[in-house]
C-alpha cells in the first residue's frame, strides 16, 4: 500500500529542487501540479466509469507523466500498471478507485502549499 505521507514528502522535495529553493515558484508549481493531477484524474475516472479503454490509457498516461515529473514515483508506478494493462481489464475500475483516493489526498495537501 502506498504511503500518502511518503509520496507527498518526495513531491515536496522535488518541487523544492525544481523551484531552485524559491518559495514563490514552489507554491506556483504545487498549484500547477494539483491542477494537472485533478484534470488527469477527472479524465481517468470518467473513462474508467464508461469502460473506455483508450480513455483509461490516456488518462493513466497523463497521471503518470505528471506524477513522475513531480517525484510522485509510487503514484506514477500505479498509473503505469493501469496504462500498460498490467492491471487486468476487470480490475481497472478498482485500481482507478484506489489511485483516485490517493491522488485526492495528495491534491488536498498540494492545495495547502499552492494556496488554492
Amino acid at each position: 500500500m502506498l504511503s500518502v505521507d511518503a509520496e507527498f514528502e518526495t513531491a515536496q522535495r522535488t518541487l523544492a529542487e525544481l523551484s531552485g529553493g524559491d518559495p514563490d515558484v514552489q507554491q506556483e508549481l504545487a498549484g500547477l501540479l494539483a491542477d494537472s493531477l485533478q484534470r488527469s484524474l477527472g479524465g481517468l475516472v470518467s473513462a474508467a466509469a464508461a469502460g473506455a479503454r483508450r480513455g483509461v490509457v490516456e488518462g493513466a498516461h497523463a497521471v503518470r507523466g505528471t506524477a513522475l515529473t513531480s517525484g510522485l514515483a509510487g503514484i506514477g508506478a500505479l498509473a503505469e500498471r493501469i496504462e500498460t494493462g498490467v492491471v487486468p481489464a476487470g480490475e481497472v475500475a478498482v485500481a482507478v478507485g484506489e489511485l483516485s483516493v490517493l491522488l485526492e489526498q495528495v491534491i488536498a495537501r498540494l492545495r495547502g502549499i499552492g494556496g488554492k
Binding site: T14, V25, L32, L33, H61, T69
Partner: protein, 411 residues
C-alpha cells in the same frame, strides 16, 4: 571538460520550441531552459507546435511531448522529416513512455533524442547542449567538408543557401576563382578600392570587354597595379568573403559542375583563403556530420578484430564505442553516424525501462544498424550492414564474437 571550448563547435543560442500540453511539465521545462540562457518558444499542443515549425524562421531544436492534443509529438516529428528542403531540426522527445519498443518507434519517426520522465534538470540541459553541438557540427564541418570536395573536382560552383542569402564559391581546377555572397555583393571596384581609382577600374573593365582580354592583363599593362599586388588584394578580399560564407547556417549545400575559363594566376587554394579560426575540413568526410564522439586509434588487437568484422559479408562498418568517455575506440569500414550510435546506446542504458536489452537492431533505409554491449568493461559494438547482402543470424553471431574478443582484449 568545458564543452564550449570544443574546436569548431560554437553553441548556438537560437530559440528552442517546447511543446507540452501539461502546464506543470511545460512550466518546469521553460524554467530549466531559461535559467540556462535558452530563449524558448512554448506551445500547448501539437498543432501549435507544427505552426511554429512550419513558419519562416523555424526553431532548430524542438522538445516535444509524445502525447499531446491535436498532433502528437511523433506526428510533428514525421511532418518535419517530410520536409527535407527545410533546415534540419533536432527533435528531442520527452515522454513517460520508457519501453524499448516506444523508443524504437520514436527513432523510426525521425526523433534524434529521448528524455524519459522523470528527468533531472541537468540531464535536460546536457541533452540540449549536445543538440546544439550537433547543429554546429552539421553546419560548420559539413560546409567545410563540402568545400573540400568541391576543391577536389575539376571545376564548378558550390552553392550555399541560408534563408534568403545565397553564397557561391567558384572553383577552377582545384582552386577558388571567385566568391559571391548575395548579402554582401562586391565588385572589382570594391576589391581594388584604395589602390586603383574607381574610374580607372571601370575603364579597365570596358577595355577588357571590348578587346576580349582578361581584366588583370589590362590592369597590369596599364601599370595601374603589379601582378603580386593584384593577387594579394584579391586574396584578402576573398578571404573575407569565405569567412562570411563559413558563418552561414546552411539549409542547402549543392555542388554544380561547371567549366569556365579563369586566369590561373588569380585563383587560390582553399587553404590560402581559410580563416584560421574557421572549422577545418575533416580528414574523412562523414556520412552525416553529427559526430559527438572523438575517434581515437584502436589498439592493434581491436583493429584486427574490427578488420575481420568489416570484411564479413554485408558488413559496411564495424566500430567500438566507449560512450562513458565519449570516444570511438576504433572503426573499420565506412564512416558511421555516431549520433545514431549514441542515441541507440541510451536504450540499453535506460534504467527505468522494464525490458532492457543487450542487443539492438534498427533498420533505416537500406541499412541495418546493430548494437551490442561487452560485459565488462562496458563498450558498445556497432555493426552497419547492407540489407541486400546481410544475413541477420550470421551478423548477430559476428556481433557477439566481436564483443567477446574486444572484452578479452580490454581485460
Amino acid at each position: 571538460m568545458d564543452e564550449s571550448n570544443l574546436p569548431g563547435l560554437t553553441p548556438t543560442r537560437a530559440p528552442i520550441l517546447v511543446a507540452e500540453d501539461d502546464p506543470l511539465s511545460r512550466r518546469i521545462l521553460l524554467r530549466i531552459l531559461r535559467e540556462n540562457g535558452h530563449p524558448v518558444i512554448e506551445a500547448a499542443d501539437g498543432n501549435l507546435a507544427w505552426e511554429v515549425c512550419r513558419g519562416d524562421d523555424p526553431p532548430r531544436i524542438v522538445i516535444l511531448d509524445w502525447m499531446m492534443p491535436g498532433l502528437s509529438g511523433i506526428e510533428v516529428c514525421q511532418r518535419l522529416r517530410a520536409q527535407p528542403e527545410r533546415p534540419y531540426t533536432i527533435v528531442i522527445l520527452i515522454t513517460a513512455k520508457n519501453r524499448h519498443q516506444d523508443m524504437l518507434e520514436g527513432f523510426a519517426a525521425g526523433v534524434d533524442d529521448f528524455i524519459t520522465k522523470p528527468y533531472a534538470p541537468d540531464q535536460l540541459v546536457a541533452r540540449v547542449r549536445a543538440a546544439e553541438r550537433m547543429l554546429a557540427v552539421a553546419g560548420g564541418a559539413g560546409l567545410a567538408s563540402a568545400l573540400r570536395e568541391a576543391e577536389a573536382s575539376p571545376g564548378g560552383d558550390l552553392l550555399i543557401r541560408d534563408g534568403a542569402t545565397v553564397g557561391r564559391v567558384l572553383f577552377h581546377e582545384g582552386k577558388v576563382a571567385w566568391i559571391h555572397l548575395s548579402s554582401a555583393p562586391g565588385s572589382l571596384v570594391e576589391v581594388l578600392a584604395g589602390r586603383v581609382p574607381a574610374e580607372d577600374v571601370r575603364a579597365v573593365l570596358a577595355e577588357a570587354a571590348a578587346s576580349g582580354r582578361n581584366f588583370a592583363e589590362v590592369l597590369i599593362d596599364w601599370d595601374l597595379m603589379d601582378e603580386a599586388d593584384l593577387r594579394a588584394q584579391i586574396r584578402d578580399w576573398l578571404r573575407a568573403k569565405l569567412k562570411a560564407v563559413l558563418s552561414l547556417d546552411p539549409w542547402l549545400v549543392m555542388f554544380v559542375p561547371q567549366k569556365r575559363s579563369h586566369n590561373g594566376d588569380l585563383t587560390f587554394s582553399l587553404s590560402e583563403l581559410m580563416p584560421a579560426a574557421a572549422p577545418q575540413p575533416a580528414p574523412i568526410a562523414p556520412v552525416v556530420a553529427t559526430n559527438t564522439l572523438i575517434e581515437v586509434d584502436a589498439s592493434p588487437q581491436v583493429t584486427a578484430v574490427l578488420q575481420d568484422a568489416a570484411a564479413a559479408n554485408g558488413v559496411l562498418a564495424a566500430a567500438v564505442f566507449d560512450v562513458v568517455r565519449g570516444i570511438c575506440v576504433g572503426r573499420r569500414g565506412t564512416p558511421v553516424d555516431a549520433s545514431l550510435v549514441v542515441a541507440l546506446t541510451r536504450l540499453p542504458y535506460n534504467e527505468v525501462a522494464a525490458d532492457r536489452v543487450e542487443e539492438l537492431l534498427v533498420t533505416r533505409g537500406r541499412r541495418y544498424h546493430m548494437l551490442g554491449a561487452t560485459k565488462s568493461p562496458r563498450y558498445f559494438i556497432y555493426l552497419e550492414l547492407d540489407r541486400r547482402n546481410a544475413n541477420l543470424g550470421q551478423a548477430r553471431i559476428l556481433l557477439r564474437s566481436v564483443a567477446e574478443r574486444v572484452a578479452l582484449d580490454a581485460g
